[in-house]
Amino acid sequence: MSETLNRLRDMARPDRVFDFMVPDVSPVDVRHGPILYMEDVTVSFDGFRAIDRLNLTIDDGELRCIIGPNGAGKTTMMDIITGKTRPDSGQVWFGSRHNLLRLAEPEVASLGIGRKFQKPTVFEALTVFENLELAMAGDRRVWTTFMARLDHEGRARLDEVLETIGLEAERDRWAGVLSHGQKQWLEIGMLLMQRPRLLLIDEPVAGMTEQEMHRTADLLNRLAGQQSVVVVEHDMGFVRSIARHVTVLHQGSVLAEGSMDAVAADPRVREVYLGAEEERHA
């Protein structure tokens, strides 16, 4: 009883929000199945079902694209996974061990679920290198941060991530002078510094040039395998260039799932989404 009270008090502490970088002791268990498992998830906002009996599984190391018209519930789905929104019913598991519906946002993050929001926010007055350094997992207390020196391992990790996101040449430039696309990659790099198991990326190529889109596709393809990646994207050309497996969301539930070509050929999908999309682009 008193333990529960203490736990409650701990959670009410305003500074507890920041604890989520502390590495979790129990690792994600993916021996017996997918890394992310959602079953019969339903969320209503004032009676409107934004997510309606959604079923979704993501395998370990998979790169999955989620497409769907505006308001299909894509962002809401990410909110549920990260603990920002609580569903009315259903189950969400991370591996076979962690019930995400029992965890608060910081705890979800500390389990290794990284999320990139649509609008890039990097620290403009710091260099690319320093941005990554701040994102590196580790002790975040004031004194340790003051005394912190970059060790070999950290430096190696930094160089590795710099290479992955293709910003080696920008290493010592201020993040503020980067292009929009470079900022997006830097932000993905900041997520990678925390060694996530699952990356949720919302509309990564919005506002990017053609060339930047190609590089982003490369980057996401390289990320898959080492971690699972879920990408929400509107741009069909982009989805076609990265996706092996596509899920179409419509009115809060899965309308179709499969390879890009199979999904694109599905008449229901053409009706609700692709058709409208192509008309708009024509």
Binding site: P14, F123, A125, R141, V142, T145, A148, R173
Partner: protein
Amino acid sequence: MSQVRTVSSGTGSVRRSMGHLSDRTTTFTCAVLMMAAVLVVGLNLLPSDHALHVGDATVSLLGKYCCYMLLALAVDLIWGYLGILSLGHGAFFALGGYAMGLYLNAQGANVDGWQAWLGHFPLAMLAVVLAPGLLALVFGWLAFRSRVTGVYFSIITQAMTFALMLAFNRNEMGVGGSTGLTRFRELLGMPLNSHAMTVALFVASLMAVLLAFVVCRMITTSRLGRVCIATRDAEARTRFLGYRVEHVKLAVFVVSAVMAGIAGALYVPQVGIINPGSFAPLFSIEVVVWVALGGRATLFGALIGALVVNWLKTVLTTEMPDAWLFILGGLFVVVTMALPQGIAGLAASLRRNRGGSAHE
């Protein structure tokens, strides 16, 4: 050299390495301060009819400027790097000053009760650090915990210093009421008005500036300093990365307040008086103006700003005492419009234009 850590332009300035940069700025500033100390003390030793002789009055004036420079450093540390605009640093300065004043008062005079305790030098020095430090700790804890930021924080710091001014004005406080503390005689057994003491206080003040500068550089070039800048520019994002933004703010705020307190403690024996006027809200605002004029988030900009403005003030208040506030206000407006990065920013851009090299 230019440590102006805001993105200055689209030119894409490149910073090559963290290590060298920090060392060069610190070494340069320390060398300049040391040279200033040697120069002033040397010129003071010249015979008084010598053309280059620097009199005790000037030495004392320079010592006073050093205290202002230290105070400006304290403000730049939290305003420049953390974006916390404190308009109450005069209060920390004054508290350090009162602690020192009470110590000086207890020399020889027969005071009793708690004030007698402050007659012991080590205890008095402890009070110099603890009084502003504890106030900052409590005040900062309450404010940062409830996420009071921006202009609201500035306003409550003004309220804080105003409230303290009213409190210290009251005779019941036992610290001299509206007249404050004055008629000090000696410090550590040496008469305050002696030549040796004047020089010693100047040197001590300059060394305090030097030391504080080194501490500030250590903080701002550490990873903690980068967290401060991150907090200043995108607080929510920094919090999302797992940093305890409130703790960072509190720690730096307390360090800054203690620096301001030490400045006040060094100031009082050199001017011979401390009264509630030091808590005046306007004084705290003036300090911010010094830093803005010198250039925010550069540290040495704060030093330059405090020195230049106070030197101007000394010159101009004797010439036209009524006009000073208007001149200060005008200067502030002109500089914020024409030189948003202050004097330090101007110097940096001149260097860039001349040298053409972007690395600092």
